[in-house]
Each structure stands twice: as structure tokens, then as C-alpha cells.
């Protein structure tokens, strides 16, 4: 045996101090004797060894000295040199998703998983090493590879459950990279198993030890929520939501709709086992506010029993019509409803507050930096006309584009169309059969829609032409789509992620991913 820290043996200097304390702290019993003569002679004869003989058979002193010696010995860190096999690597993954808040375990799934993880740490051998990963929306390395149990315990104690979904695949891939080519390595996963995409890591030969927490799936959850104008009555709002039942039994519950904490309506619904039921509320909205839906049933996970969404009243669209006189177009724009139409004969940069500028047979010297619909504005250098086509058929259009969301081209016939060659930065919105095309151009930076004009042309070779959409048809549809677009833009910060703007009750202003229903019936955000 050798010592790693032999300098710690200097602490042995504390031993005489302990003995000194015992010599000094004695309380003597006074006793009257006939004569001290014999005692004096006795002490004189035994004086040489008397100081140490005083301490004989003092068990307290012996125990204290023994503990001191052991402490000094431990500080010196003794070790035996020999051949021992290296410790195994253990990767501990703790699932911190929202479903781990379920209370079917006591006190919760996450606390149960934490307790079992601590037991695993305690059972480690001194030579074993462990990595602690916390798997939430992002996999976090709580503790890098170490054999210090105190560090591992501290790392596990610092883990907190989140409201986010779990990307277990990411954590398992990290564990796989850590354990690759290491014999005896193990990956311990503490989870309830409610994680998508696990098929990605199938057949990877991962040395996975799965510690299941959770006993049942007794949960009702709101998995979607959206607010839209009621198509039948624009003065009312339609609140679309859906409730998922993850339990194997049919569940009944009441679902409440509140607007700014004021109860508007309550419905009783029955949800079949492992199924999702949509619910639609129709409610008047007097002002901007927050719609909240809440299910009253008691289940194991309370976090998904309520959801809220901000709803903003639609504002009238300000449209500037630049024309030399087109009453038909004016009437068409006014008929769209909730449109503040202004008519001008020229475009100036001093009118920046319009939501849409419609150019009718006007070619501005400087194009406005606004959403612009140009009709019959040929003289532009955007396109180079290569010909015309008679009666082209419309075969497809981008119905998912915000501008074309409510536009249909089924009953639109085009008499004659130009064939133009579009720059590469343009995006094709519609596709026509037999080469001729409509083009709708959405300028990415300036966000304007341009139509060079309507005419007849032949398709160009190579890239193929892109035609401009029909101005009349677009004008007939623009009111509804624009209003909807404004609402969407306000309710959802990113239009391309339409439908994701769900706020939970009590968390106004914080954007959370929209929960959705997973195969196990638990609430999950988008993976």
C-alpha cells in the first residue's frame, strides 16, 4: 500500500494536542488521608512513567486517538497498487418532458425517475464513470464523464422538469456517440416512453437499459386551439379546439370557453378511448383579448387542461387605388367589405400608411414600398416578353400561399396571356397547361405583388414563362384574404408557422409550441 498524499501525515502533530487536553482537563477528587508520605514515595518511585500511566485505560482518549489516526490516514489517501479492470461508462438520460409531470407516480414521474437515478448513482463502483444527460426540447449535458458520486448526485438534483416536449432521439444519439466502441458501457434511460421518433434509433445496437416510470395514461388534454372569423357571421369568432383522450376508457368532461376570464360557454363532450374530439365555439368578441378553453376533468397531468390564444379584432384594410378612372374596379374593391378605399391618380411616397396599393393602368416612376397589385402595367423591366398565348388553362396554383389562401381559379377563364421570361428570384404561384403561365410575384423583401399586364405571347425556351394573374379575379378575392391575412399576421408572429400561436393560461406573452396529441395519448409539442 502506498499513499497518494503523504504530506497529510503531518496532521499527526494533532495527536499530542489531544493528549495534552486530557492531561490538562483533569478534575481531581479531594480526599483526606492519614499521611501523604507513602504517596510521595510511591510517586517518586514511579515518576519516570507517571505522565503516560495517567492515560492508561482511558477509553474515551483511545477512541478519539483512533479516530484521529484514521482521519489522518484517510487524508493521506492510501491506495493499493494492483491490476484492476477499468470502470464501465454509464450514460444516464433523464426525461424532462412535460409528461413527466404526471402524478400517477408519487409525487410525480420525474421525482420518481430522479430517485431511481440517485439509487443507480449510489450503486456505482468507484471505478465506474457516468454521464448525466437531461433530455428536454434540447438535450443538456448536466454532468460530463466522472466517477465522483457527489458531482453526479448534485447534477441529478439540479435537473428540473420542463413544459417542453422531449427529443429523446437526440439524447440517445448523443449517448450512442459516447458509448461507441466502449465495452461494458450502458445507457440508462429514465422516461415514461412518450417520445416520438424512437424508430430512428432502432437496430443501432445501443446498450440501452430502460427504466420505465409511469403507471397509466389517464389524461385529457387540449391539443389544438385556433381562433378565426366566423365565415357565416363575421361579427363573431370561431374558436376551434380539440381534446385528446389518451386513456383506454371513454372519458366525459366539460369544456369551458372564457374570454378574458369571463365564462362564455360550457359544453359537455364525450371523448372515445385514445381518440381526439374537435370542439367549436362561436362567440362574439367585443375587443381584443384572450380566449381560454379549459377542461374540468381531473387527470394525472394538469398542464394540458387549459390553453389560451390571443385574438385581435380585424382592422379595415386601407387600399389606395391609383387609376385614371375605373369605376368597376372601385366597386369591386368596396364590395370586399372593411375596406377604406382611397382613389388617386398618381403614386407619391408621402402615403405610406396603406395596406395595399392597386395600380390600374398606371406605371409609376418610383414603385411604392408597399403591398402592390399592378394591373395592366406593362412598362417594366422586370420581364421580357417572348410572346402571347390564346386561352391558356390554369392547372394549379399555390393554395397555401397567404395571398391565395381563399382564392379559387376553377371558374376563371383566360382569353389571352403573355408569355414572359421571369427572373430566377421569382416564385411560381400558378401553373398552366400548354406552356403559358400565370405569374404572381411576391417580392420577398418588399412584399409586393406585381402584374405586368395581360397580353398574348409565346412561351420562351428554357425556363418557361410565368404569367401574371388576373387582376379582376384577384380584386374580387382580395378583401377576404387580406382581412384574414391581417388577423393571421397579428395572432401568429410567423405566418409560415400558421396555427402555432397557442398561449397557455397564465403565461401571456410567452410563446409555447402548440401541443399535439401523441400515440400514447400524452400532450406533446411539435417535435
Amino acid at each position: 500500500m502506498r499513499l497518494l498524499a503523504p504530506a497529510a501525515l503531518w496532521f499527526a502533530a494533532a495527536i499530542p494536542v489531544v493528549i495534552l487536553f486530557y492531561l490538562l482537563k483533569r478534575k481531581r477528587v479531594v480526599r483526606l488521608v492519614s499521611s501523604t508520605l507513602l504517596w510521595q514515595k510511591f510517586l517518586a518511585e514511579t515518576q519516570a512513567s507517571a505522565p503516560f500511566q495517567r492515560l492508561r485505560h482511558n477509553w474515551l482518549l483511545i477512541l478519539q486517538l483512533l479516530m484521529l489516526v484514521l482521519a489522518i490516514f484517510a487524508l493521506a489517501r492510501p491506495y493499493f497498487s494492483g491490476r484492476l479492470a477499468g470502470g464501465n461508462l454509464q450514460v444516464l438520460i433523464l426525461d424532462a418532458s412535460a409528461s413527466m409531470q404526471c402524478t400517477d407516480e408519487t409525487p410525480s414521474r420525474f421525482e420518481k425517475a430522479r430517485a431511481e437515478a440517485l439509487k443507480l448513482v449510489n450503486s456505482l463502483r468507484d471505478t465506474d464513470r457516468m454521464v448525466v444527460l437531461l433530455a428536454a426540447a434540447v438535450t443538456e449535458v448536466k454532468q460530463s464523464e466522472t466517477s465522483e458520486k457527489s458531482l453526479l448526485r448534485r447534477a441529478i438534483e439540479s435537473c428540473r422538469v420542463t413544459d417542453s416536449p422531449t427529443r429523446l432521439v437526440e439524447a440517445l444519439k448523443m449517448a450512442e456517440s459516447l458509448t461507441r466502441d466502449k465495452t461494458g458501457a450502458e445507457v440508462h434511460l429514465f422516461s415514461d416512453g412518450a417520445a416520438p421518433g424512437l424508430s430512428e434509433i432502432e437496430n443501432k445496437g445501443l446498450p440501452l437499459v430502460y427504466h420505465l416510470v409511469g403507471q397509466r395514461a389517464n389524461n385529457l388534454g387540449i391539443v389544438s386551439l385556433d381562433v378565426r372569423p366566423n365565415p357565416e357571421d363575421p361579427s363573431r369568432r370561431a374558436v376551434f379546439t380539440s381534446v385528446a383522450n389518451s386513456s383506454p376508457d371513454e372519458q366525459k368532461t366539460e369544456i369551458e370557453l372564457r374570454f378574458d376570464d369571463q365564462l362564455l360557454e360550457t359544453k359537455s363532450i364525450t371523448i372515445p378511448a385514445t381518440n381526439t374530439t374537435p370542439v367549436v365555439f362561436l362567440a362574439a368578441q367585443p375587443r381584443d383579448g384572450v380566449f381560454s378553453v379549459r377542461i374540468t376533468a381531473q387527470d394525472d397531468l394538469a398542464a394540458d387542461n387549459q390553453a389560451s390564444i390571443v385574438s385581435v379584432l380585424p382592422q379595415p384594410a386601407k387600399v389606395l387605388l391609383v387609376t385614371h378612372g375605373n369605376r368597376l374596379l372601385e366597386k369591386a374593391l368596396k364590395a370586399a367589405g372593411k375596406v377604406e378605399l382611397s382613389v388617386a391618380s398618381d403614386v407619391t411616397e408621402s402615403k405610406p400608411n396603406f395596406d395595399l396599393v392597386v395600380l390600374d393602368d398606371v406605371t409609376p416612376a418610383v414603385w411604392p414600398r408597399l403591398n402592390t397589385l399592378a394591373i395592366h402595367s406593362m412598362n417594366t423591366n422586370w420581364f421580357s416578353s417572348v410572346g402571347s398565348v390564346e386561352g391558356p388553362a390554369i392547372v394549379d396554383w399555390k393554395s397555401t400561399h397567404p395571398l391565395l389562401r381563399f382564392v379559387g381559379f376553377d371558374n376563371v377563364a383566360i382569353m389571352k396571356s403573355l408569355v414572359v421570361k421571369t427572373p430566377a428570384r421569382f416564385r411560381r404561384a400558378r401553373k398552366q397547361l400548354a406552356v403559358p403561365h400565370f405569374i404572381s410575384h411576391l417580392h420577398r423583401q418588399r412584399g409586393r405583388l406585381a402584374e405586368p399586364g395581360v397580353g398574348s405571347s409565346q412561351p420562351a425556351s428554357g425556363q418557361g414563362g410565368r404569367a401574371v394573374s388576373s387582376g379582376a379575379q384577384r380584386a374580387n378575392q382580395i378583401g377576404g384574404s387580406d382581412v384574414s391575412g391581417r388577423h393571421q399576421a397579428r395572432a401568429r408572429p410567423r405566418p409560415e408557422r400558421a396555427g402555432t400561436g397557442v398561449w397557455r393560461h397564465g403565461e401571456a406573452g410567452r410563446l409555447s409550441p402548440r401541443p399535439r396529441h401523441e400515440p400514447d395519448g400524452l400532450l406533446r409539442g411539435p417535435a
Binding site: R26, R28, V29, L32, L38, T46, R56, H57
Partner: protein
Amino acid sequence: MRSGARKVDDFRYLDWNLYGRLDRLFLKLYEEERELPVTVFLDASESMTFGEPRKFDFARQVTAAVGYVALCGFDRVSVVTFPDLSQEPTNESELKTRSQELAARGALRSVRGRKSALQFFQNINHLTACGAAAFNEALRRGALQARQAGVAVVLSDFLDPAGYETGLTALVGRGFQVNAVQILAPDELAPATYGDLRLIDSETGAQQEVTFGKYRLNAYKQTVQNFCQRLREYCSSRGMHFFMAGSNTPLEELLLKQLREAEVWG
């Protein structure tokens, strides 16, 4: 002595001195022994009050026994009690007790005759022990005051810090046949009190700190044995008899065995 010798009488028993003076034959029928002074030096210091039974009680019993044997043998018995009474009485009862003890001490200075035995015992009973011993001084003064040397019996624990050599030497020098009897209490021979002790001397008031345990008992016994052995050797080297007794020793053991074996009496 019978006058007129007969033919059957042994010539050796004729007193020829009287025949020369009186011109008559006298036959000696017995030999009259001379009076033997027996002096008992009784240590009545404070240290003799310790022990269970008390060392002083044991010493008084020995004094009474020796004195009674001497009185029965028509010897003169003198009991010298030391130290002297120095403490003045503070109340009436102490004055009476002190007076009785002074009277007893005076009466015990010289006792003769078997008939005085009862009074002798009563006087011994009135003796008390207190004060510091001053062993050497007491024996030296006793040796000087003795008109005639005889048998001296010294009853003490010999635990005087000043030693015992001077006093014993004075007795031997005066011509006494000294018999030293050392009386120690059982607790002095083998203490039963252990731990961290502060011991106070009953006579001098001196303090001595000592840590004592069973593990040191044998060492203590060895110290006591060494002390007694030195006293024994001192006595033997000067023709004195030495006897050692604990205060719990049966009296017969000392009187009928040890003293008889030493031929202190027949």
C-alpha cells in the same frame, strides 16, 4: 527463704553470705526477680485516627494487653502518649474531656500491680488522638526521662515526615529493649480509591495530586513493602524487634504469635 538446712537440701541453695554475717544457714527457696520497667510509646497523632478499624483503637488494645501482662508480672508499666495535648478547650465539655485525658495520661506514666489493671484500662480508654506526631522528639524525650531502661514497645504507624531513626536510636542508646510495632490501616496497605485525586495530609495539611488506578495498585503495594522493609532492616541492624500489623489484624495474631515468636514474652 527457709532457715535451718537439712541433710537432703542441696548445698547450692545455701545462702553463704547470710551465713557469714549471721553464722546461720539459710536455704534459698526462690529467686526474687527485679522489677522490669515496661514503657509503651503510644502514637496518638491525627494519622492514627484513620483506618477501619481505627489504627489508634488497635494500638490501645495492644497497649492494654502488653500493660496487663506486665502488671501481672509485677512489672512497672509506663505509657507515654505522644504528642502532647496542645489544643486549648473551647467549651465546657471539651474542658472536661481534656481534664480526664490529662489525668489519664498522668496516671498512665507509672502503673504497678495487678490490681491497677482495671484503672489502667479505664485510663487507656480516655485517651484520644489528635495533632501532629513529632515522633522523634517524643521518643528522645521519653528515653531521657526514663529512670531505668527496660522494655520499650513503640506503637505507631511510623508515617512521620521527619522520619523515625532519631527517636528509635535514642531509645536503643538509653538501653531499652525496643519492640517497634508498625500499625497501618487496610486502606493504606491497599487503597481502594481510584481516579484523579488531590490528597491532603491530615497532620501537615500538605497536598499531593495523584492519579491512581487498579493498574498502579501493585506498584503502590511495592512502595509500602519497601517502606516497611527499610524500617525492618533499620530495627534489625540495631537489635530491635519489628512487628508489622494492619489495624484489622486479629489481636491474637500479634500478641500470641508474633510477639511470642520474637520472645518478647514467654
